[in-house]
């Protein structure tokens, strides 16, 4: 009780704990802040490991008819866990975690619905490619079989 009284009197004459804005120091991000995931198509071997490892499915590959894959990453869905980088066989070359801050999602960009459309297109492209491959194989097997018969 006495202590509290003494403390209260001390507080009367001591300066406030808070600082006015210009005096306060800026917030600096510590080193190795977990930021955006960055990718380089030149080094990627398209093993899809990052896609499978990602918990929220923020990395998706689109497959074109000739088999080429296109990387697509959603920074707004990403939780910056770094699992993709740990799964990648070529970390720091094909895929790495930068210290950049994530961008703001603007309403005009319509990030959610657009990503859903993209997700669907990707899985369709995968299915189409797999189906085409299967058909090709079947056709090949058939022509091989015909060749043997002749």
């Amino acid at each position: 009780m006495l202590n509290a009284l003494i403390q209260a009197l001390k507080n009367l004459i001591s300066p406030p704990v808070t600082l006015q804005y210009p005096l306060a120091e800026d917030i600096t991000l510590p080193a190795q802040y977990r930021g955006l995931i960055e990718y380089s198509a030149e080094d990627c071997i398209f093993c899809d490991k990052c896609e499978h490892a990602c918990p929220p499915r923020a990395i998706i590959f689109f497959q074109e008819a000739n088999g080429d894959k296109v990387y697509r990453y959603n920074p707004h869905l990403c939780i910056y866990c770094g699992e993709c980088v740990r799964a990648c066989p070529k970390p720091q070359e094909a895929l790495w975690q930068s210290e950049k801050k994530q961008p703001f999602a603007l309403r005009a960009e319509n990030v959610n619905s657009e990503w859903k459309v993209w997700e669907e297109r990707c899985s369709e492209s995968r299915d189409a490619f797999a189906a085409a491959k299967k058909a090709k194989k079947a056709a090949k097997a058939q022509s091989d079989g015909q060749g043997e018969m002749q």
């Binding site: 006495l2 509290a4 510590p30 977990r34 918990p55 770094g82």
Partner: protein, 361 residues
């Protein structure tokens, strides 16, 4: 004629941090009965863990059950899966995991103390504690790379090593924090409103504590000696100087004291961890798929957290059962409310440190 008046509190209320609704049946000022509705933030995490995500990803999903004890949630799940995969982690991994859990306990307890102060009318003290809490948050950010969602623990190890620089930062910030905790100790024991007025309010007797299976600081404030750090041997807590802390009385004052003393003890334990950090790998090799059933208990800041994981040799687990501390504390909470004054309800509530997003998961 009906004798009691019904007063609702919540689901949105100035003294509540998270949505919970109480209906107090009061007779004059005294609460006679309470209905609680706790399911406002149910998100179906258990279902998601057993249907949408593979077992390697679930650790990141369960971390999102709660913002404050993210680390204990992912640790609980990871330990359970490691038991199913028969992975034995190195001492260094264990130490680093303990380090994060203890840091988590410090800042979580500080948050609770801040809210207890705020609900007693000490807005400025709330701000001050939250400001001092930043010291711990900064350390955690430096260690894990993120402020709230640490994503530090993965199956088989931890994601980052502790650099000498980060170790020095931990020690520096803790030595800055320690005098401030002493000061808080002084505030919480000698200030009229925070100490004398809190004595005897919201008291839980030892018999009640046993009867309602209370846990964590709530039980220890009532003198019930239960602490998961003492009751399991997943981590070498004895090596870093852990001792159980109990108080008598079970009122708000005793709960505050338990939290303050635990902060001090955690600071001591963190120092021991940094000093005695063994060498070794930070990631162990894992292979296979989880099979069987494992129960893991962890002492989260609010009490015991349990994970039950059952797998059947496929990537999708069969069941993930999460039992959070507040969830089991609610029957005791209701019991304490009965017989208290309605005006004390916000203060009692804050002293429980309830976490609704854990409860409803």
């Amino acid at each position: 004629m009906k004798k009691t008046v019904e007063i609702p509190l919540g689901s949105q209320h100035i003294s509540l941090l998270e949505p919970i609704r109480f209906r107090f049946h009061c007779e004059n000022e005294v609460i006679r009965d309470v209905d609680a509705d706790v399911g406002f933030v149910h998100r179906g995490v258990e279902e998601a863990c057993a249907s949408r995500f593979e077992f390697k990803q679930v650790g990141y999903v369960v971390a999102r059950v709660c913002g404050l004890c993210a680390i204990t949630h992912s640790l609980g799940y990871t330990l359970a899966v490691e038991k199913l995969l028969h992975v034995e982690t190195s001492m260094r991994i264990k130490y680093l995991r303990m380090l994060m859990v203890e840091l988590d306990r410090i800042h979580s307890h500080m948050l609770c103390l801040a809210h207890t102060a705020e609900n007693a009318g000490f807005e400025a003290l709330f701000m001050q504690i939250m400001n001092e809490r930043e010291l711990v948050m900064d350390v955690q950010e430096a260690l894990s790379g993120n402020r709230v969602q640490f994503d530090y623990i993965s199956i088989g190890g931890v994601n980052r090593d502790l650099s000498a620089q980060a170790g020095a930062l931990v020690l520096r910030n803790l030595s800055l924090l320690e005098p401030k905790i002493d000061e808080l100790f002084e505030r919480f024991t000698s200030n009229w409103s925070l100490s004398l007025k809190y004595r005897g309010i919201g008291a839980l007797s030892l018999t009640q504590a046993y009867m309602y299976n209370t846990l964590g600081p709530l039980a220890r404030a009532a003198g019930l000696e239960t602490d998961v750090r003492l009751e399991t041997n997943d981590f070498p807590y004895a090596q870093i100087g852990f001792e159980i802390i109990t108080e008598q009385g079970g009122d708000i004052y005793a709960r505050n004291l338990v939290r303050l003393r635990e902060i001090k003890q955690s600071i001591k334990m963190v120092r021991h961890i940094i000093e005695g950090l063994p060498e070794g790998a930070i990631q162990e090799k894992t292979k296979g798929k989880p099979e069987g059933e494992a129960i893991v208990r962890i002492e989260a800041p609010r009490g015991e957290l349990m994970y039950l994981v059952r797998g059947n040799k496929s990537s999708i687990l069969e069941r993930v059962r999460i039992k959070t501390p507040t969830f089991s504390g609610i029957p005791a909470m209701i019991e304490i409310f009965k017989g208290s004054n309605f005006a004390d309800a916000p203060a009692i509530l804050a002293s429980f440190d309830p976490c609704m997003s854990c409860t409803a998961k």
